[in-house]
């Protein structure tokens, strides 16, 4: 897939919000600083990916997994991220599990002709559908 240059950027609004929430109230952030942080974030993703990939290759795996990313953080001298990341991962996994089970229930209901209900829950489906797409593209390795 050929990426356009802007595809490798992260959304400005989200980056700005993260910065604002991290800094004390009332601190201004110049437009140049915001743009620089956004670029830095993209570079961080590339660096982390490359580093994580080295760990995957060491383990003779073709799929990057959670452990590879955590090892990459240590390697990159961002050990301070490891504990909060592990916590978030637990929450994320629980959420994903909950969604899977909700989908299973929904499928059962759909079978029994309750199509009106699934139309109401369409908004939630968007999120899950995207995750399904992503899962179809990638091998999943449980670690």
């Amino acid at each position: 897939m050929a990426e356009r240059p802007e595809d490798l950027n992260l959304p400005n609004a989200v980056i700005t919000r993260i910065i604002k929430e991290a800094l004390p109230d009332g601190v201004n952030i110049s437009k140049e600083a915001r743009s620089a942080i956004s670029r830095a974030a993209s570079v961080f993703v590339l660096y982390a990916t490359s580093c994580a990939n080295n760990f995957a290759m060491k383990g003779k795996r073709k799929t990057l997994n959670a452990g590879d990313v955590l090892s990459a953080m240590e390697e990159m001298e961002f050990q301070r991220f490891v504990a909060p990341l592990k916590e978030s991962l637990e929450v994320y996994r629980r959420e994903q599990k909950g969604k899977k089970e909700a989908r299973k229930d929904k499928d059962k209901k759909a079978d029994s002709e309750e199509q009106d209900k699934s139309r109401e829950e369409e908004n939630e489906d968007d999120d899950e559908r995207m995750e399904e797409e992503e899962q179809n593209d990638e091998e999943e390795v449980d670690n």
Binding site: P11, A22, L23, E32, A36, S50, L64, E95, E139
Partner: protein, 130 residues
């Protein structure tokens, strides 16, 4: 992309704000990467948020900027240069110097026949943004 950021109600309580789809595009732009498991994708997005917070707060605290209530580009490039953890950003957050000084440096290098990029001395003095 950006579905995860599309819900207005749960701003700060969301687990991660950066869109996973966009993070994935960036990760996949690396030629050596074949596939990425969902947990790894999530962790990379979350780590990037932590990174943005860290870079911003560190630069604000340690910036030599004269403005106390602002985070400027010069604070960031200072961080990239001085702090080892952020040195991987040095190339994309270069220090800024006045164009006139830069031209003088180039002329000097040409005269002295150096091909090197020994800009350290000049950089300390010239943090003005062009």
């Amino acid at each position: 992309g950006g579905k995860m950021a599309a819900r207005p109600s749960s701003g700060e309580n969301r687990l991660v704000s950066l869109p996973l789809s966009r993070i994935r595009v960036i990760m996949k732009s690396s030629p050596e990467v074949s596939s990425i498991n969902q947990d790894a994708l999530f962790l990379t997005a979350k780590a990037t948020e932590l990174f943005v917070q860290y870079l911003a707060t560190y630069s604000y605290k340690h910036g030599r900027g004269k403005e106390k209530n602002a985070l400027t580009y010069s604070d960031l490039s200072h961080t990239a240069e001085e702090c080892e953890t952020f040195q991987f950003l040095a190339d994309i957050l270069p220090k800024k110097i006045l164009a006139s000084k830069y031209l003088k440096m180039l002329e000097k290098e040409k005269r002295e026949g150096e091909g090197g990029e020994d800009e350290e001395e000049d950089e300390e003095e010239n943090e003005d943004e062009t």
